[in-house]
Amino acid sequence: MDDQTNLRWPDTIYDHFKRVGIRQVGYVPDAGHSRLIKRICDDPEIADVVLTTEEEGVGLVAGAHLGGQRAALLMQSSGVGNCINMFTLVRNMGFPCLVLVTMRGEFAEFNPWQVPMGSITEPVLKLAGFLTYRVEEPGDVDETVSAACDMAFDGDLAVAVLLSQRLIGRKRWTK
């Protein structure tokens, strides 16, 4: 794996967002998604919607779909817990819901308070009706995100991609 691939995986996600025509992205500020968020904010064709809490994004995605636009959500694993009741909207109405989750509370986690939610993020998503795919290596981002985008928007499905903490890298706690 070359250094370019290691660093450029957020650009790969962005490229797939453009390929499938995503026009709205809801996000909560997040270090792991910072590069992708910047690409989205710099793109005048994508409405970047900064949320106060992740569950707002589920409503946003529903509204976008009702109006004929594709949308995606970016959140951290802790945000999945904030969404549980709002995820019922996805099942009750049936619309594509693509969520990219940066994981905390696993590989090389410094903060034990992240572990309880991080360790149940994937089962919670499954219980809420999502298909889930984990990515551990930068070289797997392309194929996995490509498949997730196609399943979400061609199949009207709820799909979550879990970007592992190993992929994102250790959080630096000292400056």
Binding site: G59, G63, M86, N92
Partner: protein
Amino acid sequence: MSAERTKAGHAMLERRKLVKDLLVDRRDLMVVCGLGSATYDVAAAGDHPLNLYLWGAMGGAAMIGLGLALAKPDRRVAVLTGDGEALMGLGALATIGVKRPENLAIVVLDNAHYGETGMQASHTQGGADLVAIAKGCGFADALTLSAQSGVAHVRELLHTGKGPLLVNAHISSAETPRFLPVRDGHAIKLRFMQAANAP
């Protein structure tokens, strides 16, 4: 303020008449209805394919309105919801204040109570001021509607006012008969999308 109006018992707007008046000659207005009484009120005013009846997802109505307003910038979107539903999604007002969609209005049917669960007092009775909150979040305008004489103006705002707007309508907490529209979310969605996205 809200507690005072309840105690004073002065004539407040009747919710069914208010909603019916707001939706007269609605043209292609898209209406997102918060769960519970707001959904019943909008349905009672006349079923319409552009009514998005919610039966759950409490706190999410305003954000559905935002996604819709961003997707359809040349159309008007109105979210009609209750004070309890709006309070559960207060953060959405800050999110909407950042994006400032000009085609979005939120009408809160504020009876200062949680009607679905036994008429417990809501936070608007305890002092939460939704108009001040919306203004503080950067809405283009936010106003109180408490008299029939103001209804026609608000109706006009739904069609031509520069959003985002929030209207806090002081309504009577008197019970109204339930009026239950279709509950199948997939059917509601498909009907709405066919009407909203027709060429």
